[in-house]
Symmetry: C2
Subunit: 313 residues, 2 copies
């Protein structure tokens, strides 16, 4: 298991009884990220049994309520649950000021550190990196400053081909590290055993791109080229492209066009406007342009290790 | 129907799947008030079919998240639904700054006016009054500046005793206003017909006191004396009075003691700590001091026109 995505909410504008605003829980290469945090996200996390203590990094795309109003409640709950670990929050400039003001007014300073990473660039930039995963911004175009996020696994070490290795008594376990790193092995006779014979290629690093609210923006294609999975908003159908222009959102067809141009493995769409009763219409419209489309639905969990993507629940 | 109370949420600290933070919807003498607004309140309002457009006045007791974090989402949703009427918000100083900052950051200024009534007095004061209802603050004692609210119907006009009136041809419909206001009627003969004979006493004005988070504070008793219904928090049982002292909350027994001293008609308790599995323990403890106790539960609607209070659902 290297990449799972759980949809906590995927509707636009206002929370309703069975329509939750945007939030996603991403597990990638044993890292655990929360992406966007609309009102009620902490309740959705409890409902779908997402461990609060696993979350150390939260990425907020923009400061509209349906992507952000649940953040202060989650921060507060972490405090009530006696969290001690640092919490890193990535989001537009201003996210620190409003969070700190709310904590101040409630006299509820957290005992854990909150590390704010405020964003203001309009160019894609590396904002997180460790030995497992890197995260880059995807500059989007909406009514307020907005970023999507590209999550990419770091290249993995090669795996050992134990059966072949055992043919050479001279290769010791202390040599394994070099083999995993791609080095050939030279026997005492001088014979060179090529690394290819002693190792198995690791699986290709997986990647996931989250593109929240944006107008049709084909200049993001180079950034998200060939990702395994793209989440891209599709707020309207093309019958209301006028509303897309006005509100800076995308149609299902436009989302699919981005997926097609970027040659992604799979497209997941969401952020449906409440004016539509049947979200299958979004899938049908998208599939006129790009075949591999899934509809985001709260509680759905996608396992992205193998294609076709498995919907787990 | 002059006074109905719908519980939207009644648990403390953090929202859980089936435990919603504080919010209540009060209908009193054809006025409609929202009291406190924890995260998820707008979803609860939709669930229990509370018309958004009826709400013109919101009373926030204090700025802890479980009483307040749902407010910005509700304000935002009112905007999305094209509200035009003014919205009056009563709450502690600071509520304007944090609301305005969030609207500014999201570039989502509402088209309707928000009128903030910021409170900072430690004495009970009249904060709302029209021809139907008055609202006074109830200064409480919590970890941050906190008010309860006392809602009182205005005295109603007397009703006409038509059968008796009809015995006097000289009494015309244009005299009815004076009769309702309590005036006697003087016949042309000089005979005075006492008002008591011509009218029926109106029902006694109803009153409801909402006391959110507070330590045991008997000096509120004169303010809430003889109210028909008192909501008073009861976060802990008396086995954990130490936690009440530390967090400035009340036990069920303390809430009942306030009810008893104030000679209220009925006590509703809520704001249960998640450490207790069986909320009936709160009722049992309270009833050792005061008999007429109801447990607040989300979705319960109390009709307070006649005793015993009817729980409608």
């Amino acid at each position: 298991m290297s990449l799972n995505l759980t949809i906590l909410g995927c509707h636009s504008a206002t929370p309703r009884v069975n329509a939750h605003p945007t939030s996603q829980y991403l597990e990638i290469n044993n890292r655990h990220f929360l992406i966007d945090c609309g009102e009620g996200t902490q309740r959705q996390m409890r409902k779908y049994k997402i461990g609060f203590s696993k979350i150390n990094h939260i990425f907020i795309s923009h400061l509209h309520g349906d992507h952000f109003f649940g953040l202060i409640g989650l921060i507060s709950t972490f405090g009530i649950l006696n969290r001690e670990k640092d919490l890193h929050i990535y989001g537009p400039k201003g996210i620190k000021e409003v969070t700190v003001l709310q904590l101040k007014l409630s006299k509820s300073w957290t005992k854990y550190n909150i590390v704010f990473h405020e964003l203001s660039s309009n160019k894609s930039e590396l904002i997180f990196e460790d030995d497992k995963v890197s995260v880059h911004t995807i500059p989007l175009s909406h009514r307020v400053y907005t970023n999507g996020y590209l999550f990419t696994e770091k290249p993995k070490l090669k795996k050992l081909h134990i059966e072949n290795i055992k043919q050479y008594d001279e290769i010791d376990t202390c040599d394994y590290h070099n083999l995993k790193a791609g080095k050939d092995f030279t026997l005492s006779s001088g014979e060179v055993i090529p690394n290819l014979k002693l190792t198995i290629e690791p699986s290709k690093p997986k990647s996931f791109a989250f593109c929240s609210d944006t107008e049709y923006k084909p200049d993001i294609v180079p950034i998200i080229k060939d990702v395994d999975v793209l989440y891209h908003e599709a707020t309207f159908l093309k019958d209301r492209e006028d509303l897309c222009d006005k509100t800076k959102h995308s149609t299902a067809e436009q989302a699919a066009s981005i997926a097609s141009q970027a040659n992604v493995g799979k497209l997941i769409i969401g952020h449906y406007s409440s004016r539509y009763n049947n979200i299958n219409d979004f899938k049908n419209e998208a599939q006129t342009v790009f075949e591999n489309v899934e509809l985001a639905e709260a509680g759905k969990r996608y396992s992205i290790d193998s294609f076709p993507i498995q919907v787990l629940n």
